[in-house]
């Protein structure tokens, strides 16, 4: 027989304003098993917890019911509190009378009644609770970082510097990510490569870091502390050990001049050979052959690169290789791309080569870019005199088919940066920025934007552009409205730059599914808690870094990368992890050994063994299910699939749930 204490929280007025807390206490006092009931202003406060601890000792409580906010908020707090008083933490149940009662109901009588019912359900459940003990599982002291952009690089470096081994998996031939494409960074205007390249080199040389470039995560199994990850190392067609990175092959590849293979790195503004490094500072400095475009792979003829390679590193026979590595923690740093602009026909992006995206502009201004840093129109290679920037192309857009509902966060700042850089180099340029709102929260950010207006005389006009119309004379007619002046504007421009909305890297959904990490409607990874656990995924052992979690700029990304690294290090520093005790359990006397449960277990946690049983005097060997407690995550899929009722879930047992149903339906 349990001795249950019920504690009803006022949560200030959050609960007490709509729920008659005192009445709840009176109503549950005589429920089965209840020996103590009380209320308090803030149950989660130190004083509130002290009250609980005292009651446990004084009334020799064996179970607790806390009627308060959502268990997702404070279940942990109250469990820890019970443990302090020597009570098993799993003897605590929380009745959610705030989020699911006081906050959504207005009628006090109704809300009070419901709170009582919810409390009764929790009491009925606690009556059937049993003490549970967390298991232990070992920790593999190695981390995986998926994505080799600035987020992944910084996370890996921080983990490696703390003394743990880290692997980076990057699907492109080189690490560096989006940042390597940028020219300068705001608000300091230092050169992106100058600050990024040293970090890339450091990654490459760090004894604790292993790089898997041109590789993809193929399969993930296991759980926090013990992930098994299959990594596909795509065939590079170049022997890593022999290649010296001399680049001879790339200059001799016949497709370099005639191939029309658009360079991904230069966003299609330039062509590249079939054997290539994305950019000169690529890490590793080993080219890959793009087999889809390579003449040798398409027709069996050519083979120029193999012939001229001084170190005989080109290897057409190379095969994809899959390696399986064990990790204790995984960081997702898959980054972002910009949205496809096909649905924004009004801006003529597909029609005119002089309408470009901001990333293309980064390449055009970069000294290592396709034009050697000389800003020119792609149509006639003339330097543009009048440039129009259009903000929010696809951001803050309610139309799912066209754009994204969120603010992309970085566009206002990089546009101010672009405007100033252009004005710095070519002061005669006229620059107009059409904006909806200028959003510059951040240290030295608004000052930066103001500088563009005050010092550089960039013309900011409030009003989204309606249409960009290519003109017979080769210019672009921009039609907009100046909302503050109340005028419609038709303005000629030589170049139009679109601040296209950013979106998470399209591959992230597949990765998130493999990791069972949740993602939101916009494909951004979800945090375990939006405010308090922003770099962790709800799935244990998975951490988030950079744009994969949401729009952010470089300094924020780097901070988040560091935060994720600390979380990883905190995990890897442990020798053992406590495992969730709410696991499935097989009653071997009831088990038929039918294998149904194993078919639905997503973790492969169920195996079968022949064991000797003594079933009421009948001794026999039976094939029964066995749950690997370290693998079981407690989803309960097996329990509903089990035909015989042998499988049950600790903490959410069949009887516990049934009794809750009964209590609610009483």
């Amino acid at each position: 027989m349990q001795r249950i204490g019920v504690f009803v929280c006022h949560c200030g007025t959050n609960i007490a304003a709509t729920v008659d807390v005192k009445k709840v206490v009176e109503m549950v006092r005589y429920e089965q098993g209840v020996v103590f009931a009380d209320d308090y202003m803030y149950m989660c406060s130190e004083a509130g917890q002290e009250k609980i601890i005292e009651a446990i000792k004084e009334y020799k409580l064996t179970g607790l019911v806390i009627c308060s906010c959502s268990p997702r908020m404070h279940e942990k707090t109250f469990r820890a509190c019970a443990e302090k008083a020597g009570l098993n933490p799993y003897m605590v149940e929380v009745a959610n009378i705030r989020e699911q009662c006081s906050w959504i109901h207005k009628d006090k009588e109704e809300a009070t009644k419901k709170a009582v019912i919810l409390a009764r359900a929790a009491i009925a459940k606690v009556n059937l609770n049993t003490p549970l003990k967390e298991g232990e599982s070992p920790v593999t002291k190695r981390a995986l970082v998926i994505g080799g952009g600035i987020a992944g690089i910084q996370t890996a470096l921080d983990i490696a510097d703390a003394g743990y081994e880290v692997d980076i998996v990057e699907k492109e031939p080189s690490i560096g990510g989006r940042m390597s494409q940028f020219d300068k960074t705001f608000p300091t205007l230092d050169c992106a490569s100058c600050i990024l390249t040293p970090k890339m080199v450091e990654v490459n040389q760090h004894p604790n870091i292993t790089l898997y470039t041109y590789s993809e995560v193929e399969k993930v199994s296991g759980y926090v502390g013990n992930f098994d990850v299959g990594i596909r190392k795509k065939a590079r067609s170049v022997d890593f050990d022999k290649c010296t990175g001399c680049g001879e092959c790339m200059t001799k590849c016949p497709l370099g001049k005639i191939g029309h293979i658009p360079s991904e790195f230069d966003r299609g503004l330039k062509n590249r050979p079939a054997i290539y490094m994305p950019f000169a500072q690529a890490v590793p400095a080993v080219p890959v052959i793009d087999r889809e475009n390579c003449t040798y792979f398409k027709t069996g003829k050519c083979g120029v690169c193999a012939k001229i390679c001084p170190s005989k590193a080109v290897d057409y026979e190379q095969q994809d290789e899959i390696v399986t590595v064990k990790y204790g923690a995984i960081v997702v740093a898959t980054g972002f791309d910009i949205i496809n602009l096909d649905k924004f026909g009004e801006y003529a992006y597909n029609e005119s080569p002089d309408v470009i995206t901001s990333i293309e502009l980064e390449r055009l201004m970069n000294a290592a870019g396709p034009t050697g840093g000389h800003l020119e129109r792609m149509s006639d290679h003339k330097q543009p005199k009048d440039i129009v920037f259009i903000q929010c192309v696809g951001s803050r857009c309610d139309n799912e088919e066209k754009g994204k509902p969120y603010c992309s966060k970085v566009c206002c700042m990089y546009t101010a940066k672009h405007a100033m850089l252009i004005k710095d180099h070519w002061p005669d340029t006229n620059i107009t920025v059409f904006y909806i709102d200028v959003r510059t929260p951040g240290k030295n950010f608004d000052e930066f934007y103001r500088r563009a207006v005050e010092q550089y005389h960039v013309n900011y006009i409030k009003g989204q552009v309606g249409k960009v119309m290519p003109q017979p004379d080769g210019s672009l007619l921009v039609q907009a409205a100046d909302l503050l002046d109340g005028k419609q504007i038709k303005m000629k421009a030589d170049m139009v730059v679109l601040a296209a909305a950013i979106e998470p890297n399209p591959g992230v959904r597949k990765i998130a599914t493999m990791l069972t990490a949740s993602i939101d409607n916009n494909n951004f990874l979800t945090e375990a808690h939006a405010k308090l656990r922003p770099v962790e995924s709800p799935t244990a052992g998975i951490f988030l870094s950079g744009m994969a979690q949401g729009p952010k700029d470089i300094p924020e990304t780097v901070s988040q990368a560091g935060a994720a690294a600390v979380k990883v290090v905190g995990l890897l520093a442990k020798d053992k992890l406590k495992t969730n005790p709410c696991t499935a359990q097989c009653d071997t006397l009831l088990c038929n050994g039918c294998s149904t449960c194993a078919n639905v277990c997503p973790y492969g946690a169920i195996t079968y063994e022949d064991i000797q049983v003594n079933d009421h005097g009948l001794r026999e060997t039976r094939r029964v299910a066995q749950v690997n407690l370290a693998l079981c995550q407690g989803c309960g899929a097996c329990t509903s699939a089990c035909p015989s009722g042998a499988m049950d879930l600790q903490g959410f047992s069949n009887r516990q749930i049934t009794t809750e149903v009964d209590a609610i339906c009483r």
């Binding site: 959502s70 268990p71 997702r72 908020m73 959610n96 705030r98 989020e99 699911q100 009662c101 906050w103 959504i104 109901h105 207005k106 009628d107 009588e109 109704e110 809300a111 009644k113 419901k114 019912i117 919810l118 359900a121 599914t513 069972t516 949740s518 993602i519 939101d520 409607n521 979800t526 709800p538 799935t539 709410c582 639905v600 997503p602 995550q633 407690g634 989803c635 309960g636 899929a637 329990t639 509903s640 699939a641 879930l649 959410f652 069949n654 749930i657 049934t658 809750e660 149903v661 009964d662 609610i664 339906c665 009483r666």
Partner: protein, 148 residues
Amino acid sequence: MPMNEENTEFRPLIVAFCCNWCSYAGADLAGSSRLSYPADVKIIRVPCSGRVNPMFILRAFERGADGVIICGCHPGDCHYSTGNYYARRRMALLFSMLEYIGVENGRTRVEWCSAAEGAKFSKTMNEFCEKIKSLGENVRLGDLRCKN
């Protein structure tokens, strides 16, 4: 409680099974966004919609529930990868069977609701309550017995 006309109105008893990761969190979000729905709905937290054994649903009906709703993560978003897929099949078959034995359609419902869909959660519960109210008290399922 003073007896007035409002109090004689039929108030259904509705049991909602919500998975811990998506829909229970969605219900919490509905709460923190103050998106109300009738107090007739009582939520039972389960780790996953795949944990919901048809026995629980039948049990609720047998004990006097007028409606039972199961909420889980959207297909493809299950915290445990696949639990909601099995739940979907199980519930499709169960609901079809309940219809077959003459129980009114609409007393049971499955809704996929993410942690971000507080508004959807509230809307769903409002709709479901209306539906159950329009169906009235659940006599049939309580009454379907082997012995007379």
